[in-house]
Symmetry: C2
Subunit: 322 residues, 2 copies
């Protein structure tokens, strides 16, 4: 597997500038915010979304400052969703560190999330493009409705693949899609290239989320930075569980888990059944299909180092262990 | 007291159009949302903020559709904050009806709030003005940091008037200010008029919040649609309590209330002390000062029916009983 640093090589300097811009987020309005903001913004993550923004922007003669700003906006947006998700799910850990809600309270986490959305919108505005701005607003609509879909269908073991794809499209792929497409907009890309980058982002995001959902079953707690089977414990039904329900022998185990909400033994039984079947392989096959679509979208675009990195990212999201 | 319908008379038709636009908010992305969205959007309220937007817009030759859209955006924004505030405070009632969080859960309320912010931003974008858009983003920053200030200073009985004004400026006046100013921006008002309307909105909003905080002490539960003394029970220290602490004899009662978090008897004792003093009068005097500033801001502007209504609103926010 190519390490992410190699994939980011053509945008190494820009990534450092994005990082610096992110560090400057801290609460000009209210000093108290500075600490939790710094905490979330600096708590790691692979920065895949802003990397996509930068790589796409490099195909065009984007104003450098604006491109950096846009990439930072994308990451802040993402950070806002993480902070609020953890508050809603009452999650204690993220990336091996205590969550904002566990350190500063759920209410504070919701409001810090709002602040991050606002800050991201402000940065998006400062790119001077109304289309970029409205694509951000649209994405926030998708993100919140996607999360709501997931929230509403908690413990719904009858959920079908189609509904799952709708959920991950809204809650994850929409942000990858805007990360990619907004840079094309900023670069005044021709319509078909903008569309190609949108397609790329969408499919990369779909694959990314499927792999995330796989890792929740097969990952190592140490690497994940959160407990294995966390989704199931929260009642979140993802692709592996859906595929298990589709197999006749899986249904009773899932049903029992749903009846005994939060029961760890019932959850572990489901995890074991999934691990000892070919479900994980099948999930990877599906994620790979999305990645193939992402690569296909790149085909008509100029061959350069940035395209190579976008290409390599489609492998990375599949092969990653966390 | 002039009834609000008389004040709204010059914009009666427009208000009906805004109402219609608000009713059209419901969850195109996810049908499940339609019900809670309709519920919050139609659950009354005086619609003061969009009325201000319309009245200001009428001074200029704004595009009619865009002005209606802007007013709807302002109200949706406000609605989003109410829904999230109630979720954060775990409030059960608002305007005499169960809150979204009590009907659909706190997580859903947070996400519906996000959706309302996103929808408001989308509408703001569709006015085609980047300045309108960025004033919205800036306002969301203020709102969330203001709420956070309040959240962090819960039960802080040492809070001073200055901090209180900062809080209500961020959490309330900033939205009144953008409601007023954004219509001036849309109308391409000269700089000094835009500033006059900003000042008007800011001061009207300050007075509005102070009166809100007064009513929490002196209002009737039936009229308020929520329990009297609700703020204190939540630990929210507002102007009347701050003034009580400033009086030597008030300090022990407040201290006791803070020590016995959530104790109703201790809260009632504080309420009684405030009611039987001249504190409420003093709070009204302060609110009136802000209203006088709001009226002053209108002085240089053309005299017309809209200005008359904006003027009358400054009386209304003081005299209202709920």
């Amino acid at each position: 597997m190519l390490p992410i640093s190699v994939i980011y090589e053509p945008i190494q300097k820009d990534m450092a500038e994005v990082e610096e811009s992110l560090r400057g987020t801290g609460g000009d309005d209210f000093l108290w915010m500075a600490e939790p903001l710094r905490y979330v913004v600096e708590s790691g993550g692979k920065r895949i979304r802003p990397a996509v923004t930068l790589l796409v922007g490099k195909f065009y003669r984007c104003d450098h400052e604006r491109l950096i700003t846009l990439a930072a906006a994308v990451e802040l947006f993402h950070t806002g969703t993480l902070v609020q998700d953890d508050a809603i799910d009452k999650s204690a850990m993220r990336r091996g560190k205590p969550t904002v809600n566990s350190l500063w309270g759920e209410g504070a986490a919701v409001l810090l999330g709002d602040y991050l959305f606002a800050k991201a919108s402000e940065l998006a505005c400062s790119t001077g493009s109304l289309r970029v701005m409205s694509s951000f607003a649209e994405t926030l609509k998708h993100l919140s409705s996607g999360e709501l879909r997931q929230f509403v269908s908690a413990y719904d073991w009858r959920m079908e693949q189609q509904e799952y794809y709708k959920q991950i499209e809204s809650k994850t792929a929409s942000l990858f899609s805007v990360a990619s497409r907004s840079a094309a907009i900023l670069g005044e890309a021709p319509g078909e290239e903008e569309e190609a980058f949108r397609t790329y982002g969408h499919n990369l995001g779909m694959a990314f989320q499927i792999v995330d959902d796989i890792l929740d079953f097969v990952g190592e707690e140490e690497e994940l930075g959160k407990p294995v089977g966390n989704d199931l414990l929260q009642g979140t039904i993802t692709l592996p569980a859906i595929l298990l329900v589709e197999q006749r022998q899986g249904k009773p185990a899932i049903r029992e888990m749903v009846q005994k909400k939060g029961d760890k033994v019932a959850v572990e039984r489901v995890i074991d059944m999934i691990r000892s079947s070919d479900i994980i392989q099948e999930c990877y096959r599906i994620a790979d299909e999305f990645c193939a679509q992402a690569r296909l979208a790149l085909e008509g675009l100029p061959q350069n180092a940035y395209r190579k990195s976008l290409f390599d990212l489609t492998r990375f999201v599949i092969e990653r262990r966390k």
